[in-house]
């Protein structure tokens, strides 16, 4: 019988040498290659300038700019936001300077900084999206286009494009047709649909080079003092860690159905491990949105954390991790 007093530690293994390995973070989104897969989410980083005060935005895979419309737009009245459990609601109403000012000030800024720009566009009609894409065609420094189709279609009783496969496809076809072949077009999907896979199919059939998901979930909050909606816009978009499980599910389902279509994943990513979760589900890049509000340094931190997480798990290449959660179990 062994002596129970004999519990002094005998050193059994030498401490492991510190991890020095690195992981090739390069990722491909259709025709383009990005040095790493961590992006900002549209509407959560403006056009990069403000974040550049906290870290070098050229260190990111790309900056996805706030959805831009044809004309300047004032957005909705305030209050425009409400904090919710592990999330927030926003109802900004796509405030922005319009495509002209964007092309004059914002895009050149990112280019000068050496940052890659994924330009998000939004419109109220197929014609508006078409015109936006046409204007972007000549512009220097557009790495890719993300088409925000979570906008009401003015010609169909305000039904949001992203909730109607045909309308979504019409927008994608138009944008794809107008854009330079070297510039991939990503359609950004809404989770507020009965069957996101069928919308994904429609967009890809219409020529989308990739898909971004998820946009915010439609939500709402009431103010318990005024007993009225908190947001001036009544409903708003729910984002943040609260929605990550919905994002993972959407990415998983779409990647399973369309394994060759690159996905930019977003929804509740706040750490490198969150980013990895979306990647394992099938995302080829990950956008960081609401987390920036809580931590302006989040995108770059997440890039570093993701690299560490990949190295820890023995991935020499980021691309090997994309969709790895779907592998057959041995």
């Amino acid at each position: 019988m062994s002596d129970p007093d004999d519990i002094t530690v005998r050193t059994v293994q030498p401490p492991r040498p510190p991890q020095r390995a690195r992981c090739d973070l390069t990722t491909h989104l259709g025709a383009i290659e990005l040095p790493n897969p961590v992006l900002t989410a549209s509407g959560c980083a403006a056009a990069g300038r403000e974040l550049d005060r906290f870290f070098d935005v050229a260190e990111l895979g790309a900056v996805v700019t706030k959805s831009i419309m044809l004309k300047a737009r004032s957005g909705r009245p305030t209050p425009r936001m409400a904090e919710t459990a592990s999330g927030m609601l926003n109802s900004i109403g796509l405030q922005g300077p319009g495509i002209d000012a964007f092309l004059e000030h914002d895009l050149p800024y990112l280019r000068e900084r050496g940052a890659r720009a994924v330009v998000s566009i939004a419109g109220g009609s197929v014609a508006e999206y078409t015109e936006l894409a046409r204007r972007l065609r000549g512009a220097a420094g557009v790495s890719a286009i993300e088409v925000n189709i979570s906008c009401p279609n003015v010609s169909n009783r305000g039904l949001v494009f992203a909730r109607d496969p045909a309308a979504a496809a019409a927008v994608v076809t138009a944008v794809r047709r107008q854009s330079a072949p070297s510039v991939p077009v990503f359609a950004k999907l809404s989770p507020d649909v009965t069957d996101i896979v069928s919308i994904a199919h429609s967009c890809v059939a219409a020529g989308a080079d990739g898909l971004s998901m998820i946009n915010t979930l439609l939500g709402m909050a009431l103010d318990l003092d005024t007993m009225r909606p908190v947001l001036a816009g009544v409903t708003g978009g729910l984002s943040g860690p609260a929605i990550k499980p919905v994002a993972v599910r959407c990415i998983w389902a779409v990647h399973a159905a369309l394994p060759d279509v690159p996905i930019i994943g977003m929804g509740g990513v706040r750490s490198g491990l969150d980013a990895l979760e979306l990647v394992l589900a099938g995302a080829s890049a990950v956008s960081v949105g609401t987390a920036i509000f809580g931590d302006p340094g989040a995108p770059l931190r997440i890039r570093h954390e993701l690299e560490t997480a990949l190295v820890d798990r023995g991935f020499a290449r980021f691309s090997d991790a994309v969709g790895y959660g779907h592998r057959e179990q041995t």
């Binding site: 737009r73 405030q95 509000f293």
Partner: protein, 289 residues
């Protein structure tokens, strides 16, 4: 002086009660040296497993660049909801991520002018550093402090040390004159020969102060408080309608283009709306984000 905001991992040095408020001192290296009166900080609240996702904005009351702590930042705050309750309860040494200094601070006059500073509730907090800056430039400083009740007045005694005169009002008359700051402001301004007004407090108060200043023909620099999600200019939640140099109204971000605005530039009557004549208004459709 170094420019622009920093993000630093600070920690709570001390919290103490001051009337209805808390006086919080944070160790936040580097921020003090960049701070000017009117700047604010945005704090992450709630700790590691928190459900609170957004930053909380607070005016900087005062800073210290020296000492063993590598720089401290002091705030005066009221407990409103979960975030401020957490801050109030945070023990000494609790880590707090601090972003700052943020926003456009008060503009200081080039000349020796007579400045009148008006603070409502905790809104007086940023005025003391301002008063010292103004005094060091040889300005005359008069202070008017107002609050709902005596326990919500902040800094009346301190005001006396920096100001030529100090006037106090409370809604309920529990301290000073019963009434609003604007009840006494015209008389103070006349007496002081006010050439510029600086104000910080609730929106309704700022509006009235702007009117009083406009009537007297002097500029009013107002530090506004709009609900903010990020505090750094990326989310577009903190907008209010402001008239630009070109005479056009735009919805501008109070976190980067403010919080200090000229009172006659802010469309106070249109707060919480998008005026029909604002650039890009009204939206023809209402897209979700």
């Amino acid at each position: 002086m170094a420019e622009g905001p920093l993000q630093v991992r600070g920690e709570v040095l001390a919290t103490r009660r001051v009337g209805a408020y808390r006086h919080l001192t944070l160790v936040a290296p580097g921020i003090a040296a960049r701070t000017r009166p009117g700047h604010f900080v945005a704090l992450a609240v709630g700790g590691p497993d928190t459900a609170l996702t957004l930053r909380r904005a607070f005016s900087i009351y005062q800073v210290s660049t020296q000492g063993v702590f590598g720089g401290t930042v002091e705030l005066i705050f009221a407990v409103q909801g979960a975030g401020t309750a957490w801050l109030a309860a945070a023990a000494s040494r609790t880590p707090v991520d601090v972003v700052g200094p943020l926003g456009k601070p008060f503009a200081l006059p080039r000349d020796r002018v007579s400045a009148t500073l008006v603070g409502g509730g905790y809104g007086s907090a940023p005025l003391f550093g301002l008063a010292r800056s103004l005094r060091s430039r040889g300005c005359r400083v008069d202070v008017v402090l107002g609050a709902a009740s005596a326990d919500r007045l902040f800094g009346a005694l301190e005001a006396k040390r920096v100001a030529t005169t100090v006037e106090v009002t409370t809604d309920d008359g529990s301290a000073g004159t019963r009434g609003w700051v604007t009840d006494v402001l015209p008389a103070v301004m006349e007496r002081a020969g006010t050439e510029v007004v600086y104000a910080c407090g609730p929106m309704g108060m700022l509006r009235s102060i702007s009117e009083v200043a406009a009537a007297a023909g002097v500029p009013a620099q107002c530090a506004v408080e709009e609900s903010m999600a990020c505090g750094i200019g990326v989310c577009m939640t903190c907008v209010l309608p402001v008239v630009g140099e070109d005479g056009l109204t735009r919805m501008v971000r109070s976190c980067v283009e403010g919080p200090v605005f000229l009172g006659d530039r802010v469309r106070w009557d249109a707060l919480g709306t998008v005026p029909a004549d604002a650039v890009g208004a009204p939206p023809m459709s209402d897209p979700d984000e």
